[in-house]
Amino acid sequence: MSLDQPEPIFVGGTVGQSVAKTDSLEKVQGRAEYIADLYRPGMLHGAILASPHAHARIRGYDLSEAMQAPGVVAIITGDDVGEGRMGAFIKDEHAIAKGKVLYVGEPVAAVAARTEEEARHACRLIKVDYEELPAVLSPEEGLARDAPILHEHLAEYIKVFDAGSDGNLCSRTELSEGDVDAAWADCDVIVEGEYTTQPQAHVSMEPCGALAEVDAAGRVTLWSANQSVFRVQANVCESLGLPMSRLRSLTPRVGAGFGNKMEPHIQPITVALAMKAMRPVKLILSREEDFEMVRARHPYRVRMKTGAKSDGTLVARECEVLVECGAFADDSPGVMGYSLLMCGGPYRIPHMKASGKLVYTNKLRFGAFRGFGNPQVLFAGEQQIDQIGEKLGLDPFTIRRRNLLRRGDQWFVGPRIGSNGLGRCLDAVEQAAKGARADGSPRNFGLAVTAHISGLLGTGAIVRMLEDGTISLNTGATDIGQGSDTVLAQICAEELKLPFDQVAVASPDTDGSPYNWGTTASRVTYTTGRAVKAAAKKVVDQAMDHAAEILDCDVADLELREGGRIGRHGSNTDVTFAQISGRAHWAAGGPLVGSETLVFDEPTHDPKRAIALGLPFPRIGVFSFAALGVDVDVDDTSGQVSVHEAWSAADVGRAINPRLVEVQLHGGFVQGLGYSLYEEMVWDGARLANPSLMDYKVPTARDVPDAIHTFIIEDPDPTGPFGAKGAGEIGLNAAPGAIANAVARATGARHAHLPLTGERVLAGMLDPGALQD
């Protein structure tokens, strides 16, 4: 089979059909219930007192006045939580500030009262005695010899990988293969530069929130806006010292996540409040608190150098990143490590070296955000590919095609590439974007390509056949709006040859659902889809056994037919799932249940090929690919950039639901457009200066081009369910690189700093040719 050719696979049923999302109707009717819409009998409302200091020791609290305030039932502070610490990679975070505060906005105390207004009022009456400490406000400051130390006990914290933590250095990662230092001598052309990227806020339309209640036996039930009921359970129990069996984590509908709701936000605080109040407590953040307290995309400083032969063949790349962590590690070691794994892009580069330092600072934690470190390094890397092409007279498509990784190649440090439709993605973009605009004017075209993994960690599925032959599917995967409930039901229905509407999807529940690490890393369709398909297959196998007994024949003589029927080859007689399931429930064998669990277990690192130190993900996933072309307008007088047209082509293996893939590509691109052009969290000293939608601009309907063309390329992955790979992040990654390349085409100036504001672009137009500082 030749490269980039799709393998023949079974087509039929509902896989490949753009069925409407199962939650669409309740959402257009305003009936979907999000966390703020839940009420419980006797429920109180919570509010949080935020730290006014970036770095201070807490000497004590005076709660007397606040406790007397109207409506107040309970107040918690760091004194109410034990020594437990949570964290995905480094367990460095208490449920609420304890002993010290580490950023402006950090929760210091929380109040449960009859109404939200009363709770917020009482928070203002809490007195905290602080001893202010000098603050660290940048990674460079954090690494200074005499820098104040945020985590004095960092050495003692539990870490799940070799972090190399020291002082304010949260973690370091070093990866290399080949011999970069020697390779520069073989290069005919070398480009290098230093780039910076800004913090971006997720701005899920639904702010974070949680509702907790404690039953008579002391067991906690917790609903929250989340991307994983299981990570919520683990984080709350770690930070509050609860056995996991004493907490049940559930989810209502979630108003998007983008990474913001994967690891904890205020769930531990809400649980602590409910345990103290002995009444249900709901805590919903304001938009400002959602900006100030939760997490954001990491600002990066990237030093990158790339070398090639005169024919355009890439030879070497070196990438060094300095990453601001914020006050807690959260997902940061993973983000930095992943960005280093991805810094070579989807190219064959024999000599590679990548290293990074992640540094604690007195700001809110930075963490997972769609793209997970990939957009930052790609902003640098994809500009350098264009610059090499420019020096050698190779157009952006040619220089990239000459260097693409292929199926069967190994990615940087070792993962083997399965399906790879990137060549076809480039073809699709080139074909569609060629020539001039409709009005005959030339395009200001920019191109970037990307790869992203889908995979990571454990997942499961339970498929049950109900008495009437219809199906209940339970995976524990939170649908955050992207449509995973629908896609997983389609996979299940396809395997069972049932109409899609006969599969009901259970809401995630740590009491009843199989483990699912989370809705993150573009992973649910790929990993959970695999488990669903395998679990459904087990149900089919069980049904086959029943049918063989009912029809008195061998299983080998039977076939599964559309609509939930099993019959003998060459015969019209068959038995229905209802007959089989009734028999199984009441007469023979027991109810039909298929379950499957799996963990993505292909090693990231090939020690024969590469050296890896401080690698946070020993197993990552399979690769999706994408090419993005943009055509921009630049205003001559203001420097303001707008995107005139965009072409986004993604190899997602197999689109289980093409419409939902297209919306991922649209939505990802527009979030990337905002990141590229204007979105920026700005700190005024230690305080976030723009924690509101008034002052933090996200794209509106008027800011996006009408012409965002999407192209779904299907190169089925042999391990994916019906060939599918992830689609959640691939549409965002390439936006800054593609837009920067288009701006360079339009203005003649290269830009090293995001966002590409009018000011910066205008400065470049006045001084073209120089890398802008």
Binding site: P70, A256, V704
Partner: protein, 159 residues
């Protein structure tokens, strides 16, 4: 801290209601906390995101910026009261079909703004749709499928 409640009379989704709500409460607070009308969402509480959009006397307003006291004697309509509205039903159907519904948190506000546009301009251009929706932030879709849905509904309704 004053917890004084004030009694207001207004028409909610066609029914006369009397509601005791905190003095100075916004319509969003009263709808959600006192009347349990939950389709109107608190996305920003600053009048920027549009997720709380409702109709007062038929005109879209930000419930988070509207004082309940100002609604005394006026007619408030929310998504809960849109059953039987032909324009809304058509918009809803097109939103479902186009993929314009993702997380859904903005959807109610988007639909109320879109319905208001179609009442005023039954055959809007795409640019007019984008302008009409520019006060409703959606972080999921990139707007393309939402604009498609509104244009599709307009086309169907004008036939």
């Amino acid at each position: 801290m004053m917890v004084k409640k004030v009694l207001h009379s207004l028409t909610l989704n066609g029914e006369e209601v009397q509601v005791a709500t905190a003095a100075g409460a916004t319509l969003l607070q009263t709808l959600r906390e006192d009347l349990r009308i939950l389709s109107s969402k608190r996305g920003c509480n600053q009048g920027v995101c549009g997720a709380c959009t409702v109709l007062v006397d038929g005109t879209p307003v930000r419930a988070c910026l509207t004082l309940t006291a100002r609604c005394e004697g006026h007619a408030v309509q929310t998504m809960e009261g849109m059953d039987g509205d032909r324009v809304m039903a058509t918009l809803q159907r097109h939103m479902v079909q186009s993929g314009g519904v993702q997380c859904g948190f903005c959807t109610g506000g988007v639909l109320i703004s879109a319905r208001d546009l179609l009442e005023a301009d039954p055959t809007p251009s795409r640019e007019a749709v984008k302008t009409a929706l520019s006060g409703n932030i959606c972080r999921c879709t990139g707007y393309r499928t939402i604009v498609d849905a509104v244009c599709g509904a307009a086309e169907e309704l004008s036939q």
